[in-house]
Symmetry: C2
Subunit: 215 residues, 2 copies
Amino acid sequence: MIIPGDPQPRLSRAAAGRLSLYLRRLELLERNGTVQVSSLALGDALCIPDTQVRKDLAAMGNRLGHPGVGYDVPELITAIRSRMGIDREWRAALVGVGNLARALLRYDGFSSRGFRVVCLFDSDPAKVGKTVEGLSIHSLAQTKPVIRSMNAELGIIAVPGSSAQMVADVLIDAGVKGILNFAPGLIRVPLGVNVVNVDLTIQLEQLAFMVHVGD
Amino acid sequence: MIIPGDPQPRLSRAAAGRLSLYLRRLELLERNGTVQVSSLALGDALCIPDTQVRKDLAAMGNRLGHPGVGYDVPELITAIRSRMGIDREWRAALVGVGNLARALLRYDGFSSRGFRVVCLFDSDPAKVGKTVEGLSIHSLAQTKPVIRSMNAELGIIAVPGSSAQMVADVLIDAGVKGILNFAPGLIRVPLGVNVVNVDLTIQLEQLAFMVHVGD
């Protein structure tokens, strides 16, 4: 049962990461017609101890568990989406229209969860004006007016590392509050702007390291 | 100075992640002709405190710092690559030849760091036999003989979530020891096989959460 006005303790990034994993699992259960789930079953599928599951869900500040029954799947999905701020549409601008961008635009997981790419930008004059997945490609000079008119709050950087910082500066100047950065290397942003880096080389290096040490 | 035979304390995954970041930064410095770097300068560019930098580099078990001078950039690059097990070629099999796979195959960051995709697989008969970036696409039935003959140790899963577990099982059966999984949802693997999940939806959800709470 979700009680509006319950205190909401601050959520750590690690806890938010686990909530994403629970959500993914719960959505699968819902598609399969499951309406109740125990903390043990939910954690087991994710290799997370049930004590941690109960702690995470209790920390959401809602009385979600039903003793002897478990959690109501649709109720828990709604609660997690609300807690994470993903119970609404998030509009994103994407810069750099290459293969990665095309893969992201066709990735069902984004749109089905309310993430909508609403405008595309590229520095290549040969691409500007073309249409990809129903969106026309604008020049970088157009970021500010286009991003503002489309109300894009997030930016996705899919350009080479050498131009990532410049693109980030342009996106921030246009008003985006969060950046998903696929370019290698870190980008610097002012306070109040958030960045999640997806450096694929680092992920592959981590994997090699784990295999190397037999982790 | 790297002294062979120095004890190598166990490295945590978090520390290995930071080593990847140092390496990325050091490679940039080297390209720019910088030969010495202080822990302060190295950490500052990555928003990591210099005390943490010195601790991480000391924990590699090598006497790498030179008092009053800092670290020798090429020496440190060599030491980190050796410590992480990425001072050699890693051969990978890639399953699911869509836009994401094409983006990965064209991603310079992989090959320049010794990660080489050596074989491609797809379940779509229309794709089997075709060539992408110089590699021919094999059917899933061919995974075992092809992966073994190509000595691929790593597998990259770029298929929809619904077939990810099946593909993982096939790759593991063929002998891969590490999997980079781009499919949404978790996959189960036996002990001795490592997985790094790159769930783009989770990354975007985390970003939305950070913007939502004003982190």
